[in-house]
């Protein structure tokens, strides 16, 4: 069957879009690599292990007319549109890319030790698996996401030794009263669990032989250079410096990209979430990191555009306000380049290929001044993750903003999977 719309990604944007488009009478496929709906934000506990959240149920209950293709990892999309996943191929007239984002990470000495997790990883363990990531946990990085991670871990029984927010400039958030109240709510919960919240501080090293035993926390200046340090014992570190949108599929199709205020590549879209490629829409974090509420509203806007109906004025205003707040968050929680001074010669920059900082410096000494030349000489980004973890760091070490990702295959597949496909998609003349 050929679908009117294929939605890739079953987070808030994809669920909202698929539900609205299917209720509008379209044949809709909603595809996600995970076995359960929700994406990262609405990640649900194991079946039977707890009640789903109200926001999740509201989105799920609108999906009755959409075909769900869960546990299907999309590795490529082709014009026409053919969506290749690890269980076969489906075709659709139009495509919505709602593939979300993953944690943005920075390298620092010891970040490859077991016990160091991304903030999103610690959250996924808790929300999706009911596993508390550790007993004594440090939460660090930058951005509002650190707050639900820390409060969730503390409420689940972990001793959270502290939240270390690198940014100094949280005062600007007071301009948004509703969000300030939300922030104060997290503050109260942190206080109730006696979790100290520090701003202008960062974890600049992790320690341990074969597993994490402690971290070095530093007071940092406004460019994130170390002013003074102290050691904190912990068995787990949850660390994240914002998010990197997953643009692989949009770039495969040739969608034009632009940049978030912090330089992160995102898909360029119009008010109807249309990309530069006719028939291809994008919503949620792929068009700019802005959180679940904005993602859901963008998903609805995309569905309206596909259906040819206007987005209700009330929702358009909410979307605009959420976008404005997202821009403010980018201003308040920037990543400053001073993290480069945290690196030692032997600090791994690329975890997969085990490329130490020294090799990046050597490549630069040999004349590799841009990130691509550094990659070709020293191999950062050439391993399993294809630069998803180190791409930001390598780009900044080269003095560049990270480029849009060029990954013709977005998920690992077997040669057998690849051979099973005809050389050209049947939809391409």
């Amino acid at each position: 069957m050929r679908y009117d719309l294929a939605v890739i990604g079953a987070g808030p944007a994809g669920m909202a879009a698929a539900g609205a488009a299917a209720r509008g009478g379209l044949r809709v496929a909603l595809i996600d690599g995970a076995p359960r709906l929700g994406g990262q934000f609405h990640r649900q506990p194991p079946p039977g292990a707890g009640p789903p959240s109200q926001d999740f149920l509201r989105l799920r209950d609108r999906l009755t007319r959409a075909d769900l293709h869960l546990g299907r990892r999309v590795w490529a999309v082709e014009p026409g549109f053919s969506v290749h996943h690890d269980g076969g191929t489906l075709t659709a007239e139009r495509l919505l890319i709602a593939t979300g984002a993953h944690d943005r990470v920075l390298p620092f000495p010891g970040w490859d030790l077991p016990g160091v997790l991304t903030a999103g990883g610690a959250q996924a363990l808790l929300k999706g698996n009911l596993v508390v990531a550790g007993r004594r946990i440090v939460v660090a990085g930058t951005g509002p996401f650190l707050l639900p991670v820390a409060t969730g871990l503390a409420a689940a029984g972990a001793r959270v030794a502290g939240v270390f927010e690198a940014s100094h400039r949280l005062g600007a958030l007071a301009r948004h009263p509703a969000r300030a109240v939300q922030g104060a709510g997290y503050g109260l919960r942190l206080a109730r669990h006696r979790v100290p919240y520090h701003r202008g501080q960062a974890v600049v090293a992790a320690h341990g032989d074969d597993a994490l035993t402690g971290v070095t926390v530093a007071d940092i200046d406004r460019d994130w250079r170390v002013l003074g340090t102290r050691e904190i014992a912990c068995d787990t570190l949850a660390v994240g410096y914002g998010f990197t949108p997953q643009l692989d599929l949009a770039v495969q199709l040739g969608c034009a990209t632009t940049r978030d205020p912090d330089g992160t590549p995102v898909v360029a879209v119009d008010a109807g979430q249309r990309t530069s490629v006719p028939g291809v829409y994008a919503a949620g974090e792929t068009t700019g990191v802005g959180g679940a509420e904005l993602a859901e509203l963008e998903g609805l806007a995309a569905a309206c555009a596909v259906l040819g109906t206007p987005l209700p004025e009330r929702l358009a205003r909410r979307r605009d306000r959420a976008r404005e707040f997202a821009r403010l968050l980018h201003e308040v929680f920037p990543v400053r380049d001073g993290w480069r001074t945290w690196l030692r010669d032997d600090t791994l920059v690329c975890r997969c290929e085990e490329v130490p900082y020294r090799d990046i410096e050597d490549a630069r000494d040999l004349g590799a001044t841009d990130a691509r030349s550094i990659k070709l000489l020293a191999r950062p980004g050439m391993g399993w993750c294809q630069g998803r973890m180190c791409g930001y760091a390598v780009a900044r070490l080269a003095g560049e903003d990270p480029p849009p990702p060029r990954r013709p295959i977005a998920q690992p597949i077997t040669l057998q999977d690849l051979a099973a496909h005809p050389r050209r998609s049947p939809d391409v003349p």
């Binding site: 993953h102 490859d112 077991p114 016990g115 997790l117 991304t118 975890r351 085990e354 993750c385 973890m389």
Partner: protein, 81 residues
């Protein structure tokens, strides 16, 4: 819902249905299950959502499985990759 077990290198690991293999190992106090090719360093969960590939292991003879994504099934035999 009642739990079950998987086996990691001969050791029984309790699982709550719906948990990933990586989550079950982590909950059992097993923080690493792979050593790196160059430096022989231990690795386990890092990104936790299928992006970093640090948590690769072998499940029932299938190598290169991301532990953070694969939902555990009763009787799964898990070994380091």
């Amino acid at each position: 819902m009642s739990g079950f077990e998987i086996v990691f290198s001969g050791r029984p690991i309790p699982v709550t249905p719906g948990q990933t293999i990586g989550a079950a190992l982590h909950a059992a106090g097993i923080r690493s299950w792979r050593t790196t090719r160059v430096n022989g360093r231990p690795r386990g969960l890092f990104c936790g959502i299928g992006v970093c590939f640090d948590c690769l292991l072998t499940v029932n003879g299938e190598s290169g499985v991301r532990a953070c994504l694969r939902v555990a099934a009763p009787g799964d035999e898990v070994t380091p990759s």
